[in-house]
């Protein structure tokens, strides 16, 4: 029997070199170095213990990653104190951080805030972040999609006034990048703001309320393009974190089901469960392609809007599915506080909202690839 139908002819064949979806040797070496470090310094029991402390962030680990290994500067050119690498390398770091649900502000500071500063040409601050002299965050809610509206503070008499909520990793930031109602993006010293922790669903990526009561800020550029670029990179590279998370939960679940016996057999030998795990494996293989494509597209700045939207329209469902299956298939153990799988479920679900939901990214895609929605339904009469 023929097994593969003829592919339909392409609407418009585009002969081009296309994305590089593999990992280079250097990227694999980077992965190995980060994984080694996390194995030694970011064990699940420690992450769990930290979530219940007053300092949920692992600042010592962040200092090693950002400064010691120079990872905070991957996206920053060498002349500004960075590594002059790119999004592909940052994506590999995020895969490993996702595997460990590491409570460090890599995505928020080294990716999102750094991209915003690069967009503004705020070279002094870029250098500070890249060299780990300081940590920065973009003060918009973590759930904001690229291009979506977000809260701003008021600019009055040369100072900033207002409140921003659900700002990820604000508690460890030295500098806050704050959008104001005059269209500017302002760099605010964290000491000039009141940062109040909020109780987050994801205990490993703490959120805070940022209040400004007449704080001084330096205008570094226009907010709109900077925020859009920052959130696009954040959304695109988040897919790699989600990939790492999905992979870890799948690997742990497979290992557990090989050991765990019921009905005098390893539970993983039952076909109903094997099919669920095989399905998850298939989803993670697909997520890897989508995440690599987004990282490569951001690095080359080619097709990046579509690649990011595709990755984020796909990734959340896979990461959440993997974490939910891990909880279910670990049985009662999966419901305990001691087993780390709940940290992964909370991160996965929180990631599903971070930098825009899958639905928001599908809406973006509809415009980008010319699949417009029907007109809005008329309001009901009477």
């Amino acid at each position: 029997m023929s097994t593969q139908p003829d592919p339909l002819p392409a609407g418009a064949a585009r002969p081009h070199a296309g994305p590089d979806l593999l990992y280079s040797e250097e990227e694999e070496a980077l992965r190995a170095a980060v994984r080694d470090l996390l194995t030694d310094h970011c064990a699940a029991p420690d992450v769990l213990a930290r979530t219940e402390s007053d300092t949920p962030h692992d600042v010592p680990l962040w200092k090693i990653l950002a400064g010691g290994m120079g990872l905070a500067g991957l996206l920053v050119p060498e002349e500004l104190g960075g590594q002059g690498a790119g999004h592909r390398e940052a994506a590999v770091v995020l895969e490993e951080l996702g595997r460990a649900v590491a409570p460090v502000p890599y995505l928020t500071s080294a990716v999102v805030a750094t991209e915003a500063l690069l967009a503004c040409g705020a070279d002094d601050l870029v250098t500070e972040l890249a060299t780990a002299a300081s940590t920065g965050v973009l003060a918009v809610a973590l759930s904001t999609a690229p291009g979506a509206p977000h809260a701003v503070v008021r600019r009055e008499n040369g100072t900033l006034r207002g409140e921003l909520t659900a700002v990820a990793d604000a508690a460890v930031a030295d500098v806050l990048l704050v959008p104001a109602d005059d269209g500017g993006l302002y760099a605010v010293d964290a000491a000039a703001a009141t940062v109040v922790p909020q109780v987050p669903l994801d205990l490993t990526r703490p959120l805070a309320r940022v209040r400004l009561d007449g704080a001084a800020g330096r205008r570094i550029g226009d907010a709109e393009p900077a925020v859009r670029r920052a959130l696009r990179a954040g959304a695109g590279l988040l897919a790699s974190e989600q990939l790492g998370l999905a992979e870890w939960t799948l690997t742990q679940t497979v290992a557990y089901l090989k050991e765990r016996k019921q009905f005098n057999r390893p539970v993983g030998g039952f076909q109903a469960l094997k099919h669920r795990l095989a399905q998850l494996w298939l989803e993670t293989v697909h997520l890897r392609a989508a995440a690599r494509n987004a990282a490569d597209a951001l690095a080359r700045d080619e097709d990046a809007d579509v690649a990011v939207a595709v990755a984020q329209a796909y990734a959340a469902a896979v990461a959440v599915h993997a974490a939910e299956e891990a909880v279910q298939l670990h049985g009662g153990i999966g419901m305990t506080w001691e087993h780390p799988v709940h940290l992964y479920l909370k991160r996965a679900k929180s990631d599903a909202l971070a930098y825009g939901t899958a639905g928001a990214h599908r809406e973006t895609l509809a415009a980008l690839v010319d699949l417009p929605a029907p007109p809005a339904a008329p309001a009901p009469v009477g």
């Binding site: 029997m1 023929s2 097994t3 593969q4 139908p5 003829d6 592919p7 339909l8 002819p9 392409a10 609407g11 418009a12 064949a13 585009r14 296309g18 994305p19 590089d20 979806l21 593999l22 497979v254 089901l257 090989k258 057999r265 390893p266 993983g268 030998g269 039952f270 076909q271 094997k274 099919h275 795990l277 095989a278 399905q279 494996w281 298939l282 293989v285 697909h286 997520l287 890897r288 392609a289 989508a290 690599r292 494509n293 595709v310 329209a313 796909y314 599908r362 809406e363 895609l365 509809a366 690839v369 010319d370 699949l371 417009p372 929605a373 029907p374 339904a377």
Partner: protein, 397 residues
């Protein structure tokens, strides 16, 4: 032959020499294909004298591109897919020198079409349960049984066939692999009409068919192992193609959406976008797999590609029928046809919907492929087997 001539430049030069000696514009199609085979440019990774040069497999693309650009005829690979994808690699690995010399060239040129006589009414996913018998009679074997789901049987000159030669052994043993002449007396091909109305495949009845022992492939009783080569190659060939964005089944649906705004609803929009994303991600996964193979890093991802495309094609074509509204209630043609190829392009959405149901059954059901992923990729234990050490003749049927 020196190794350095087998790089991309060397192969490109050989392709140009072939084109110079046999200009496609003035050379008969079959003559050109034979000359290409004899020049070792048919499948460059095959040995010299058998259509190849012992070159790296990845360099085939260089030759194909060079010849295609010059307007050379190809061997219509879709039409002879079973011969190319299944029979040829198995012949190469297990055939005698005489068998390779006899069969590979007409197979590659498409002069002789092949089909595959594996599945039986009682042996599909559990292929090793097959009951077609082959009994030794002097220099021949006498074969009796029934095969089913046989694509191209009505066009085929030759078939690869597995039959039971020792029923006293457990089911995976006592099987032998043969090359069956489809024109022999006792071979009867009957069309099987399908869900789509057409008869794309067949039942094949084998009644006292005499196969000379010279047409046995591999040792007597070793047929299961030989068949594994065939089946592995069947699955390797899937997913290696390169598609542009919207290059698969999502393409026609997206075009209909753009061209006919009157059909749009909000529910269909959400479903279309979800499937568009899945199609794009599956395309990228295929592209990643292709890059891995080209870089000499074959991964286990290939096992999943057929699974993914099967489900996706079914959901996309299902959406397409709904999108067409009133037209979705109609069907283009229920006439019983005997197509040489599965033609998704030339038919309507209803046909695509019905035919794609076969994608999760043919070439290994999705359920079996999920087992393969779970056991071979994830290393999960196999289900307990009650039939493993029992003689085939003693199994309940």
């Amino acid at each position: 032959m020196t190794a350095e001539t087998l790089d991309a430049a060397g192969l490109r030069r050989r392709a140009r020499e072939l084109l110079a000696a046999h200009p496609p514009a003035t050379t008969d199609r079959l003559a050109f294909l034979r000359a290409r085979f004899d020049a070792g440019l048919a499948w460059v990774h095959f040995p010299e004298g058998l259509g190849g040069l012992g070159a790296p497999r990845a360099l085939q693309a260089v030759v194909d591109a060079e010849l295609e650009a010059a307007g050379a005829p190809d061997n219509d690979p879709h039409r002879i897919g079973i011969g190319l994808g299944m029979a040829a690699p198995t012949l190469l690995r297990y055939g005698t020198d005489e068998q390779k010399r006899r069969f590979l060239r007409p197979l590659w040129t498409g002069q002789e079409v092949w089909c595959q006589l594996f599945s039986e009414p009682g042996a599909g996913s559990d292929l090793a349960a097959l009951g077609t018998r082959a009994v030794r009679d002097g220099e021949d074997w006498i074969v009796d049984g029934q095969k089913v789901w046989t694509s191209s049987a009505h066009l085929a000159r030759w078939a690869i066939l597995i039959a039971r030669t020792d029923p006293a052994l457990p089911k995976h043993q006592g099987i032998t692999y043969f090359l069956c002449d489809m024109t022999d007396p006792g071979v009867e091909v009957r069309p099987l009409r399908q869900i789509t109305g057409e008869a794309e495949f067949n039942e094949v009845f084998l009644t006292g068919v005499r196969i000379p022992d010279a047409h046995r492939l591999g040792a007597v009783g070793d047929g299961w192992r030989v068949a594994q080569t065939t089946l592995m190659n069947e699955r390797v060939s899937i997913g290696g193609m390169r598609l542009p964005r919207e290059g698969g089944m999502i393409g026609p649906v997206a075009r209909t959406w753009r061209e006919r705004p009157g059909l749009r609803t909000h529910d269909l929009h959400q479903r279309l976008l979800t499937l568009w994303v899945e199609a794009e991600v599956a395309r990228l996964t295929g592209e990643r797999l292709r890059q891995q193979l080209a870089a000499g890093q074959p991964g286990p991802e290939g096992s999943g590609m057929k699974l993914a495309f099967a489900g996706l094609n079914q959901r996309i074509s299902g959406l397409e029928v709904e999108l067409r509204g009133e037209e979705g209630l109609l069907y283009d043609d229920w006439t019983m046809r005997r197509p040489e190829l599965v033609d998704f392009t030339g038919r309507d959405a209803g046909y695509r919907y019905l035919r794609s149901k076969g994608n999760s059954i043919e070439g290994g059901t999705s359920e079996i492929l999920l087992n393969i992923v779970a056991e071979r990729v994830l290393g999960l234990p196999a289900e307990p087997r009650t039939d493993k050490d029992v003689a085939w003749k003693d199994l309940a049927r």
